[in-house]
């Protein structure tokens, strides 16, 4: 048995908003919940908001994080709290926590896995801090202590595009500098969709020197020259400012062993040495290409991702949908931003509870493959989603 409910509140008062959204979601799930997944926009007082949620949560496990924009139903929310309530006698939820994720991203991932993941874990949903955190290392850390093909889904918390402070919720507490996870074990039917919809252009180049998420040289030249080749020196100067338009309109596509899909990486700023600082690791020797996207393809990718996740349910009924969409896609899509969410909601049906948020980086199995070859990674600019069914 799985009962779910989703609700949102845009009430001005932080406590009231948290309480209202949680109350309604729980009511929809039949008045009781095992798990409450909370996404709140950053313009709320986080402590007050979560107090509001806890006020009605009873024994439910409360997890989640903040975002610059929430997702509920078939659209984004500028200001609001979105809550998913799940009650089930067949899925077991277990929370895990990794502290000091900025200082030791890999270690925090390991810690989380040790606490939450076991042989029976079918999937792990995670929410991590964004400030100074190596998201790829967190994912590697988690997989280090778990089976290699553990499906991980989740997002990096986001703030009002300042990259200064993000909040994570763990067992009804507001924390910073952590990675929170909720492991699902037992009889879990789920599907995961991962699509970016970007098109590669030009010839592949080789990352000849890199360290973590910093690309130092491409084809033995300073990394920034790669962008200069495409856009000219003048335009490439934009890259020296963080999150310039070039960086999210033209991300990098990295080929990954054992997959035809290219993993997206945003080179979100260039440093004085002409090195490119990316969101997510780029191993030395990787082949990368410049990616080109357009609105139509982005929306189609979202629909495809939803479709693929739905197929993985093998005919079971969708009960809850979590959407982790990249904040850069929000910026890229501009006015049409809600069409993407609408496309996803249409695939599952408007009545299926859906919540999510716009992330600073997504975690999901590459290609959405949750089988034997499942390989969870850190993504950028990708539509990732998880559907739980029965």
């Amino acid at each position: 048995m799985i009962k779910t409910g989703a609700a949102q509140s845009a009430t001005e008062d932080s406590f009231a908003a948290g309480k209202e959204a949680a109350e309604k979601a729980i009511a929809q799930a039949g008045g009781k919940a095992d798990l409450l997944v909370v996404f709140s926009t950053v313009n709320y007082n986080q402590e007050e908001m979560i107090k509001g949620v806890n006020f009605v949560a009873k024994n439910a496990l409360v997890v989640g994080c903040c975002g610059l924009r929430g997702i509920f139903g078939s659209k984004g929310i500028e200001r609001g709290v979105a809550v998913m309530a799940i009650l089930s006698d067949q899925i077991h939820f277990k929370a895990g926590l990794g502290l000091n994720v900025k200082e030791d991203s890999f270690g925090a991932g390991q810690k989380l896995a040790k606490e939450a993941v076991n042989q029976d874990t079918k999937a792990l949903m995670i929410f991590m801090d964004a400030v100074g955190v190596n998201g790829s290392a967190v994912v590697r850390g988690i997989l280090d202590g778990s089976k290699k093909n553990l499906p991980i889904i989740g997002g990096m918390a986001s703030d009002a595009s300042t990259f200064t402070k993000t909040y994570e919720y763990h067992k009804g507490e507001v924390l910073i500098d952590v990675v929170v996870g909720v492991a699902m074990s037992g009889k879990v039917s789920f599907g995961i969709g991962v699509q970016h919809g970007w098109q590669s252009v030009g010839l592949p180049v080789t990352v000849t020197k890199s360290e973590g998420s910093i690309i130092q040289e491409i084809d033995n030249q300073p990394a920034v020259k790669f962008f200069e080749d495409y856009f000219g020196q003048e335009e490439a100067k934009q890259l020296y400012k963080p999150l310039s338009r070039i960086c999210y309109v033209y991300p990098l596509g990295m080929s990954v062993e054992g997959s035809d899909e290219l993993l997206i990486r945003i080179a979100f700023v260039a440093n004085e040495k002409g090195e490119l600082v990316c969101a997510g690791e780029i191993p030395q020797g990787s082949q990368i290409r410049l990616m080109l996207g357009d609105t139509e393809k982005a929306i189609k990718a979202a629909r495809d991702a939803a479709q693929k996740a739905k197929e993985q349910l093998s005919g079971k009924q969708a009960k809850a949908v979590f959407v982790f969409d990249c904040a850069a896609r929000f910026m890229l899509l501009g006015k049409r931003v809600d069409e993407e969410i609408k496309a996803v909601a249409e695939v599952f049906g408007e009545n299926v509870p859906l919540v999510g948020f716009y992330t600073y980086g997504e975690q999901a199995p590459i290609g959405g493959d949750i089988g034997q070859n499942c390989s969870s990674m850190f993504h950028n600019e990708t539509m990732t989603l998880m559907v739980i069914g029965e």
Partner: protein, 462 residues
């Protein structure tokens, strides 16, 4: 051997052939390899060209994306502006609705006002500049004309066309300032006999005037009849009363023969009663004259202080006989003679002094005259230590036939006309009259008379 040779030769041939075949193959292979290298080079070049094209296209895409961003921003601005405009439109619509509502209100208000104006018992005229802009039915009735023919016309034209209006505006043209409730007799040429209007002229704005015409013909007639009646009645009463007075005085004085002390005493009382009756009739006559407006007639320059002193001397005797002190305080400075009807002023002073004596049981009566140079007026005061007037009755004290409750208790006699007469006399001389009083403590009556020093007297004194 030959065979061997042949064999050898065959073998040699064969080897030669093989070698040549190989050579041929090698050549072909080399040629192929060259071709392949060429193809590869060509492919590489093609790829490079494609890469170049991709790079050029990407630049173009960047340009396009910038244009798109700009356009989206423009659109956003446009949306905001549209919203603003929409709000402005809504605000305007609201204002229009408000205006419409106000207009309706104003219309209903106007209808109300119009119906008031049309059904008003008084005549109403409104003049703007030289034009008559409003004339209600009642006003038209006064002038015996149709209101429609009047409105919007120039007054000079109306004066020519309608003689009654000519008379009215003729009388009005003497006025330059607004006034209220002034009687206007319009003669008998174009109006019925005895037709009197009480006219008010009110300034509404710089060149807009409202004229209210109140028909007081009937009141005037009634008033006239009443006054005439009182006058006639009083005259008719006074003559026999005078006769009684003289006859009684002759009998009391023994001119018609001896009478006993008892008889004399009774006749004395009858005489006094007759005196009171005469005083009452005089009061009634005076009141009637006041109302007829022919009260003050003979005015002449008089030394008011001397006049007052004379009255006081007689008064003092009476006061002393009643056991009350009376004091006269003259002005400290020379007081100019003033133009008065001395008979009437004496009556006013007499009335005030009589009242003081009448309602004072014990104590003192002070009659004081001061010349207030700053105001150029003479101030008279009569102060007593009598019964006083209670506060609630202060307002009515000068009314006709009114008697204060304290006075009624003390003295059953009294016409209630004395103060009314005094007030009318003083005001007819452009003076003011008032009083201060407290029950059981006493009353002080004040009145003033203005001094109008003529320019010639001013010169004479030089």
């Amino acid at each position: 051997m030959i065979a061997d040779f042949a064999n050898f030769s065959m073998a040699e041939d064969s080897t030669r052939k093989t070698t040549s075949d190989l050579e041929e193959t090698t050549k072909i292979l080399l040629r192929r390899d060259l071709e392949l290298t060429k193809i590869k080079e060509k492919q590489d070049e093609d790829l490079k060209t494609l890469d170049e094209i991709a790079k050029q296209l990407i630049r173009r895409d960047l340009e396009l994306s910038k244009v798109q961003v700009e356009r989206e921003e423009e659109l956003r601005e446009l949306e905001l502006k549209t919203k603003d405009l929409e709000q402005v439109r809504k605000a305007l619509m609201n204002i229009l609705e408000d205006i419409d509502e106000e207009r309706k209100k104003a219309e209903s208000e106007r209808d109300k006002t119009l119906s008031i104006i049309n059904n008003f018992a008084d005549g109403l005229l409104m003049i703007e500049g030289e034009f008559l802009i409003l004339c209600n039915p009642q006003a038209a009735k006064f002038f015996q004309i149709n209101p429609q023919t009047l409105v919007g016309k120039e007054i000079s034209v109306l004066k020519k066309d309608f003689p009654p209006l000519a008379v009215f505006f003729g009388a009005l043209s003497k006025k330059t300032a607004p006034f209220r409730r002034e009687e206007m007799a319009l003669g008998i040429d174009f109006f019925p006999e005895g037709f009197v209007l009480e006219v008010s002229m009110i300034s509404l704005s710089a060149n807009r005037w409202m004229i209210i015409l109140h028909d007081i013909s009937r009141e005037k007639l009634v008033e006239k009849m009443k006054t005439e009646f009182v006058s006639i009645a009083a005259h008719q009463l006074r003559t026999p009363l005078s006769a009684i007075k003289w006859i009684l005085s002759m009998v009391i004085n023994g001119d018609v023969g001896e009478i006993t002390e008892e008889q004399k005493d009774m006749l004395q009382k009858t005489y006094q009663s007759n005196e009171r009756m005469i005083a009452l009739v005089n009061d009634l006559l005076n009141t009637a004259r006041i109302e007829e407006g022919k009260f003050i007639n003979k005015t002449s320059k008089k030394d008011i202080v001397a006049l007052a002193k004379n009255i006081f001397v007689q008064f003092k005797e009476r006061a002393v006989s009643k056991g009350i002190t009376a004091e006269f305080i003259k002005p400290s400075v020379r007081t100019p003679a003033i133009n008065i009807d001395s008979e009437k002023i004496s009556l006013a002073i007499q009335n005030l002094l009589d009242n003081a004596l009448e309602y004072t049981k014990q104590g003192k009566i002070v009659f004081k005259i001061e010349f207030i140079k700053a105001k150029n007026e003479i101030l008279f005061s009569v102060a007593d230590t009598g019964i006083g007037i209670s506060g609630a009755e202060h307002k009515r004290i000068f009314s006709k036939f009114f008697r204060a409750s304290t006075a009624v208790k003390t003295e059953t006699e009294g016409s209630g006309l004395g103060l009314f007469i005094a007030k009318n006399i003083i005001e007819a001389h452009n003076g003011r009259i008032w009083f201060e009083s407290e029950a059981d403590k006493g009353t002080t009556f004040y009145f003033t008379l203005p001094v109008k020093e003529e320019f010639d007297t001013f010169l004479k004194e030089f």
